[in-house]
Assembly symmetry: C2
Homo-oligomer: 223 residues x 2
């Protein structure tokens, strides 16, 4: 398995035994979500916002309106950092100090460029929809020229990345173990409920397989 | 209801009808979570990382080890931006263009300071634990001097903030409504499963009310 190179930017200093630079492990974290937090500089201040992403190989795609301040800033700065986090549990120790969380968190660094090639731009927009619900794009009405032209797509070509994964129980001080204090883990999950069809969808239109698959793979509440 | 002042930093430009500057609404978004994404500058590059927060009034508290690079950078830069996002649903339109998500997302701007006052620092650490699980701090073994001294706490005194909230169904083009294409919303929820007691907790120690309350308020799976 191949890994990202480790430098000053992506080196995990705190909790380094939970760090990974492995490309497959980091891809798995990115593939499990579609929402990242992106930071950019504006007038000497860092601003962080949530954004949907698509992903093809080692390129992430962000999109928005042509004048989107974050996107135009990311293009002009030439670089981006995306943070993708999945919360898996609350780790409640006997002491506040050892409280923690179980999580999978990836930090992606890349160079940015405005996507101008028509084919790449369309594939990028497809990847954004399919990142949210796999295989959903092909069920949709085709994108028209007006929509296509009014959408700005930014590619983030990954230069390096790292991730931290915590997936274990409470780690308390040995001398605390016999205290009359409870400790344990509350598992946290993000789930999907059954899809709600829009009221104006013609009655003969069925829920597509992509949506059924999504709801069955992500849900406790079956269709 | 009072609101944050609107300036270049927090003004929501895209989708401004979903924007709010209302303090109570933004507090509600912050109170519904404990995890934010924080951005900081390092060698000319923005880095974004997930972090737990506590909150007392209009001050957020971040904590970590004394040499934590993000925290020391936040102190020296004098300012911080925290992004808090809750995903509530996938909005699947008939066109890729109108795909969206339901969410509550707050962006908090503030000035930073290292917390040195002993009382404020202890209250801040309490707020971080209680932000994760309300009223849990008082059930724990007290923090000792070594732990207290080896923890860095950064206050972010809020200067302004904004939020965007989307909580509605699909908005498609009128002319697309009769297409044989499905549209709808997949609701997304973050849930807690039943707490798992650590194997080394003495048998007579019961699950505290704070944890029972949390699991019952956040869960489909009752204790």
């Amino acid at each position: 398995m191949s890994s990202y190179s480790v430098n000053n930017l992506n080196k995990v200093i705190r909790g380094s035994k939970r760090a990974t630079y492995n490309i497959e492990e980091i891809d798995a974290i990115a593939d499990a979500g579609f929402l990242c937090h992106v930071g950019y500089e504006f007038e000497g201040q860092t601003i962080v916002l949530p954004m949907a992403y698509g992903k093809i190989g080692q390129t992430f795609y962000l999109h928005g309106s042509l004048k989107n301040r974050m996107l135009t800033n990311l293009i002009s700065s030439g670089k981006a950092c995306l943070s993708i986090t999945h919360l898996d549990g609350l780790v409640l120790a006997r002491s506040g100090f050892h409280h923690s969380a179980n999580y999978r968190a990836a930090t992606i660094f890349g160079t940015t460029r405005m996507v101008q090639d028509r084919d790449e731009k369309m594939k990028a927009l497809e990847s954004v929809v399919n990142q949210m619900v796999p295989d959903h794009w092909d069920t949709l009405r085709e994108m028209n020229e007006k929509e296509f032209k009014s959408t700005l797509v930014v590619a983030v070509d990954v230069t390096t990345a790292s991730a931290k994964i915590r997936a274990e129980g409470v780690i308390d001080e040995k001398e605390d173990q016999n205290l009359p204090v409870w400790a344990g883990v509350i598992p946290i999950k993000q789930i999907a409920e059954a899809p709600i069809t829009a009221p104006d969808v013609p009655k003969e239109v069925e829920i597509p397989e992509s949506v059924k698959d999504y709801a069955s793979k992500n849900s406790f509440l079956k269709l």
